[in-house]
């Protein structure tokens, strides 16, 4: 049986034409925003999460206390609350605008701040479980040749810990990619923001849902596959 589109070429136009009606943002533009949010928040949370993990294993009780408190508070607050706090709290009440002059840029930067603060707690915990997989003797040998605490962590323990937790970190990154949809709540024009607009204006809600679901799978599936392959390749042999 010939497909509907073959017998009625205009059907394709009727079903899909609404997509081209959106130019603020466009479909691709919206997903590009999702990618940018994920990228910058990913880098930020990797750096901040690593610092938090270093604090949690540090010999200084104050740092350990801070790391533990941070992780336990931040990971238990809903992300929506954190993102709204960044916009309504930081920007509107405390006038933290991250050097942005217009509202859009400000929202974008505050969203990255919020995602970084939130995701770092999960990166920290993944990394800490990785640190636990590194045998005690590795750190002892490092200290025995005269490396200090920071060098031991940076040169010996963390490189091995990272390789052990590439898989769990991929989970965190995938979760982050999907979590960026929360930024729609503060008006950042990413995928979920556009989806909401389309659903309000169009009839094909099922199709719209499918398009955005597909878009996210396109973003996250390769992430998982590539990092899975990398984790096998970089595994430390003992």
């Amino acid at each position: 049986m010939p497909s509907t589109y073959a017998t009625h070429p205009e059907a394709r136009d009727i079903v899909f034409d609404f997509i081209s009606d959106y130019d603020n943002p466009t479909l691709l533009g919206a997903f590009w925003m999702t990618v940018k949010l994920t990228f910058f928040s990913g880098i930020g949370s990797l750096v901040w999460g690593t610092l938090l993990a270093a604090m949690r294993v540090s010999p200084v009780p104050l740092m350990r206390g801070f790391g533990t408190a941070y992780v336990n508070i931040v990971r238990n607050i809903p992300l929506t609350v954190i993102i709204l706090f960044c916009s309504l709290g930081l920007a509107d009440i405390f006038h933290v605008t991250m050097g942005a002059s217009d509202f859009k840029v400000q929202g974008f930067r505050l969203a990255i701040l919020g995602f970084t603060a939130y995701t770092a707690a999960f990166v920290c915990e993944a990394l800490r479980s990785g640190i636990n997989t590194v045998p005690m003797g590795q750190a002892e040998a490092a200290r025995a040749i005269g490396l200090n605490f920071t060098q031991t962590l940076r040169l010996i323990v963390l490189p091995q810990a990272f390789r052990a937790v590439i898989g769990p970190l991929a989970n965190v990154l995938i979760a982050l990619t999907k979590n960026t949809t929360v930024a729609a709540a503060i008006g950042v024009a990413e995928a979920a923001y556009l989806m909401k607009q389309m659903i309000e204006n169009e009839a094909q809600t099922l199709l719209i849902g499918a398009i955005f679901a597909f878009g996210f799978v396109v973003l996250t599936l390769p992430t998982g596959l590539i990092l899975g392959w990398l984790s096998k390749r970089l595994a430390v042999k003992r």
């Binding site: 010999p59 045998p135 003797g137 590795q138 002892e140 040998a141 490092a142 200290r143 025995a144 040749i145 005269g146 490396l147 200090n148 060098q151 040169l155 010996i156 490189p159 091995q160 390789r163 430390v236 042999k237 003992r238």
Partner: protein, 258 residues
Amino acid sequence: MTEVSVAKQDAAATGELVVLKSVNKHFGALHVLQDIDLTIARGEVVVVIGPSGSGKSTLCRTINRLETIDSGSIAIDGKPLPAEGKELARLRADVGMVFQSFNLFAHKTVLENVMLGQIKVRKADKKTAEEKARSLLDRVGVGSQADKYPAQLSGGQQQRVAIARALAMDPKVMLFDEPTSALDPEMINEVLEVMQQLARDGMTMIVVTHEMGFARSAANRVVFMADGRIVEEAVPDQFFSAPRSDRAKDFLSKILHH
């Protein structure tokens, strides 16, 4: 002129390098080191033997403060062991340590293992560090394995790399914590030979081991420990042929028959 410098070296060579005074340590209720007094002279090879749980490994590990002590004092080359921080790191660099389980850095090649301390602690440039690492690896007989990862080497080879890694820091004293206990029997000798060579070259060594053959042939002194105390100290011949304490007699009778 030459005579003067030789005389100086001799004076230094007779100095006390490691001095432990009434050292005590507890693991919870277990009094694992009890009033340990031990002095090791420059160039001396001291073998510590004793039954399991006698505290000999702990003793070895307190000397570079991988284990802290509860009371007493430890001095290395006249300087008391610093508590933490930079001073301690500097001291550890001067004290080479070889572990039972090798503990080579698993994510670095053999060559990188031997270069790391030189570059990061001694601040040597890469080229000098590599040359020295390669010559040390040749010296312990694993030069051809330089670019492999530790897991690709046999236990005996890994332990010889670990010795090279410690030697790369130009240590004043080397600590060996049961260096052959985790090895297959046929690999023990290749490690002992390297250690014997080191002893002949005049390295100050403290060796915790069950290898009585090594104690006999390479040690200047045998220290016998039991239940957290030093029970007996003697030159190897005297210790093995005529132990004074009953505890040592009992221990030797159990191990020397086979």
